[in-house]
């Protein structure tokens, strides 16, 4: 989301893949990995180069992270590349939190359910183990990404592990759990939990709830989405999510016209 250039990209796919494969300029490799995902370069050579980048040892951040692996993992999720699944599952026990997070998000996007047992392992120890890492802005595992992936991948066997996270002290983790629980049960209680989150004082929480409601397509939230104080751009994306969940069965129903009228008012 956000604002974007309408300028022409001067780079070619071949150049970018070569940039990713060279060893001299780490910045160029990092950018190349992002670029391949951004422009969804779904070529075999691009996927090969990104899979190789998942093994990279050259690009290290001061705290021991793997910046190139993070970008490569994110890009693979955008490429409709089922053969990346085993390597991404391998990333789920990487020492770098952000590599694990990117891998969980990409596995969610790729929609291959073979990763669910490994994702569920990241929830081991439950809410009690889900503590902040001292000195870091994150918890020990990327719980939001893991919970969201389990919901999207329809991992109903994970419900007993997911449910306790509704009471995790971090609101965004609660929302991720509510989102997953809704996807797994379609029980409106969980959709309403996210509608309630639209009333939070803090804008980042309202934004998060907007994205979650769009992702689950919870129709009764339409009015509340249009009214919550947040950027219209995000509200429009959220309403688009509602509309498109609904459109699968019915293109111009009373409900879809109602949602489009709300969208019109936010332009």
């Amino acid at each position: 989301m956000g604002e974007s250039h309408s300028e022409q990209e001067p780079l070619t796919v071949e150049q970018v893949i070569a940039n990713l494969q060279q060893r001299e300029d780490l910045g160029l490799r990092y950018y190349a990995a992002w670029w391949l995902g951004k422009f969804r370069v779904n070529e075999s050579a691009a996927i090969d180069a990104l899979l190789a980048a998942l093994e990279d040892e050259a690009d290290r951040s001061p705290d021991g992270g793997y910046p190139l692996r993070r970008n490569a993992a994110r890009a693979l999720g955008k490429l409709d590349a089922p053969r990346a699944v085993p390597a991404l599952i391998g990333c789920l026990d990487n020492s770098d939190y952000y590599v694990r997070e990117a891998a969980a998000q990409s596995l969610e996007e790729l929609g291959d359910t073979s990763c669910t047992p490994v994702l569920m392992k990241l929830l081991d120890g439950g809410v009690a183990a889900a503590q902040p890492v001292p000195g870091k802005p994150h918890l020990v595992q990327p719980y939001e990404a893991v919970l969201e992936a389990l919901g999207t991948l329809q991992a109903s066997e994970a419900v007993p592990q997911i449910q306790p996270f509704l009471d995790h002290p971090t609101e965004k983790v609660q929302y991720a759990a509510a989102r997953a629980m809704y996807q797994l049960s379609e029980n409106p209680v969980y959709g309403e939990r996210l509608v309630q989150a639209l009333q939070e004082d803090r804008l980042p929480l309202r934004r998060s709830a907007l994205m979650d409601l769009g992702a689950i397509g919870y129709l009764p939230a339409a009015e509340a989405i249009a009214k919550t104080p947040a950027e219209n751009s995000l509200k429009l994306i959220s309403l688009k999510g509602l509309l498109e969940h609904h459109l699968e069965s019915n293109l111009l129903s009373e409900k879809s016209i109602e949602i489009m009228n709300l969208m019109d008012s936010l332009l």
């Binding site: 604002e3 974007s4 309408s6 219209n232 751009s233 688009k240 459109l247 111009l252 489009m260 969208m263």
Partner: protein, 213 residues
């Protein structure tokens, strides 16, 4: 309302010390509908405070064409946030003096939020405020722009162009026919499901609606 009371409301905006109190002060000023508040509203558009900006746009829209000259003069070429809000106000006021700026913004502004709000505004200009001999050229320009904006790279800008075209098509019988043909093409060529749904809605509503004049 006396001018003293207006000045008091303006001072409350200037002295607000939190995002919430700023929004409240701007809403109070908007409710007063005083032309003296126009420069204050325009300044608020640049504060990067969405709550207050919504209130300032509301205040400017309530004042209507009185706010247009200041908005056109002071439009901020560097701050796209402020510019988006100004164009939003101009779009909602619908004054035809904003036609050139809305056309340029819809076609080629850097920010998609600006392109989308300008595209919607192009459809709902108060054409009757133009001298009769200028109306058809101005509408033709808006039509041409909106047809082009239907090719934008962002779905939400194309969505807004459909909304703009629907409103514009209702002004003339030959526009209505041309736009209907365009919507039929979109149904086949448009990649985004939401935009296709919106074009279908526009098409059905246009069929049911009589041409205004």
């Amino acid at each position: 309302m006396t001018s003293d009371q207006t000045q008091q409301l303006i001072r409350a905006v200037e002295q607000a010390d939190s995002p919430e109190s700023l929004s409240q002060a701007v809403w109070a000023l908007a409710a007063a509908r005083q032309k003296a508040a126009i420069p204050t509203f325009i300044r608020v558009l640049g504060y990067n405070n969405p709550g207050a900006a919504v209130a300032a746009v509301e205040g400017l829209v309530k004042l209507g064409e009185a706010a247009v000259p200041s908005l056109l003069e002071q439009i901020d070429g560097y701050d796209y946030g402020a510019r988006a809000w100004s164009i939003r106000a101009l779009s909602q006021i619908g004054d035809p003096r904003a036609l050139d700026i809305l056309t340029g913004a819809a076609e080629s502004d850097f920010a998609l939020s600006v392109r989308r709000t300008a595209a919607k505004g192009l459809g709902s200009i108060s054409w009757s405020q133009l001298p009769a001999e200028e109306v058809s050229a101005a509408q033709a320009k808006a039509l041409e722009t909106l047809l082009q904006v239907c090719q934008d790279s962002e779905w939400i800008v194309r969505y807004a162009a459909v909304v703009g075209l629907q409103a514009l098509a209702a002004t003339q019988l030959d526009y209505k026919q041309r736009v209907q043909v365009h919507f039929q093409q979109l149904d086949k060529s448009e990649p985004d499901l939401t935009v296709r749904a919106r074009a279908q809605m526009a098409s059905v509503q246009l069929q049911q609606m009589p041409v205004l004049n």
